[in-house]
Symmetry: C2
Subunit: 297 residues, 2 copies
Amino acid sequence: MSEPPSRLPGSSSGSTIAVIGLGLMGGSLVRALISREDGTRVLGATPDPRDRAAAERVLRVPAAPDARDVIADADLVVYAAPLAPIVEMVPVHAPLLRDDAVVTDVAGLKRPILHAVQRAGLSSRYVGAHPMAGGERSGFDGGHEDLFRDALVWLCADRGVEPHAAQTVELFWSNLGCRPEWTDPESHDRLMERVSQLPQLTANALALALEDCGARASDLGPGGRDMTRLAESSPEVWRDLFAHTAPELAGLLRDLGGRLEELAVRLESGELGAVAELMARTGRWRVGRGKRASETE
Amino acid sequence: MSEPPSRLPGSSSGSTIAVIGLGLMGGSLVRALISREDGTRVLGATPDPRDRAAAERVLRVPAAPDARDVIADADLVVYAAPLAPIVEMVPVHAPLLRDDAVVTDVAGLKRPILHAVQRAGLSSRYVGAHPMAGGERSGFDGGHEDLFRDALVWLCADRGVEPHAAQTVELFWSNLGCRPEWTDPESHDRLMERVSQLPQLTANALALALEDCGARASDLGPGGRDMTRLAESSPEVWRDLFAHTAPELAGLLRDLGGRLEELAVRLESGELGAVAELMARTGRWRVGRGKRASETE
């Protein structure tokens, strides 16, 4: 593989990137961009004063309370806020962007953002991104420079997207060490209900069950710690996502409840061989099978 | 803190330790013991030919197919097999042990082992141990030298245990870098149903739900990977444990199902603020509160 160019296409000298939202995701982006020292100008904005102060130590320029103050010069605007604020900002920002500015975001669902972008007339310059990276810590200080390294990042856009925008966003994420993969927003969002939102609420439910039966987080071993790590995730970020997937997610939670009931029945009836067989099946599922289509021969 | 002595008490020169079972736990023990290069003689036994071959490369002496061939000389016998084989071996081995041999084990439940030890007349020389360490990989090659480093290890014994045995076993685990903590077997086993067995089967149930709705393990991000890591755990090890806790565990699985149902209902009725509040509660539970009694002031 050839080394990708370190500059964004379309910028003859250093380009300007505006990162809107400076929490875990935006904070990690800012750190990764600054660390490259490639002449890229990085601007940041967030209404959160603590994240702003933390970001300014890395950016070495003031971060703006209002995103409108940093987008006017940007070659690339990256929305790294929770979903609802992105949907609110897009139409307000659209008339303020440069004509050749490209827009991306990191939200965990892509349909709601794409709809907002379409309504704002930006879909030719927007490529949605969802890096499969994150962490249980919130805020700028929860981020780190390597958060996106080696992460799969889903990309999707309207059919009418300009090739320049598609190329810019793909290269932006590649240069951060991600593995970009194109998908359509419907497939993406449906998959995320399963592989992201369901595990998230499972961790919360498990933590609630443990707390209510008197167990303490410090009683957990490494397995139990892994199984409850997501219980620390930001409620704000997830609430915005659940607003778009609640009925489907409720069905998935009930299906999982059915699996737990099946295991309970087998335990009670002494069918331990059947329980072990189900465990063996999950082991096979996790280690070997079910590579993504792009990874199979 | 003063440095603990690196020799087991009661051994003027190097002592002999027999590790019975050479899977993930036994394999990690063998590696950790050999790496200390303190003159301890380490012997190993397992009926599994692959684990035996792997262990011999580390032990540099033959591993025995039958544990009876390595226990006769041991100052300390460490049972690192699944629970059922330990319970079977204890009465067979009891008459073959040295009179001053001390016995410990690593099983995830302590009552069944303690009962077997009592019936075999070994309870004065037995201290059960449960290191809160492990991994999803099975077999000798799944282990590593640092598996036990910084792990909490629960210790418990019969009231009539000899001080020498208690001291030997506590020091054995301390010297491996663990943090030993004494408990009683009933409290231990009850806690493990909650903080160990429930998370284990939750991971399996989640993996089953994901597989059946067409998700692939490669679709998971870091959160989903953590939530299904335990789905690779050894069915054999866990089946032996579930045999002793099935009714209680079934109740815990149903309680968790109730939490999932509560979340489903709130999602369906649009009570996203209530969902976020539950998420915030689990975050508080996990990060700060609920230190073990010994850790609070």
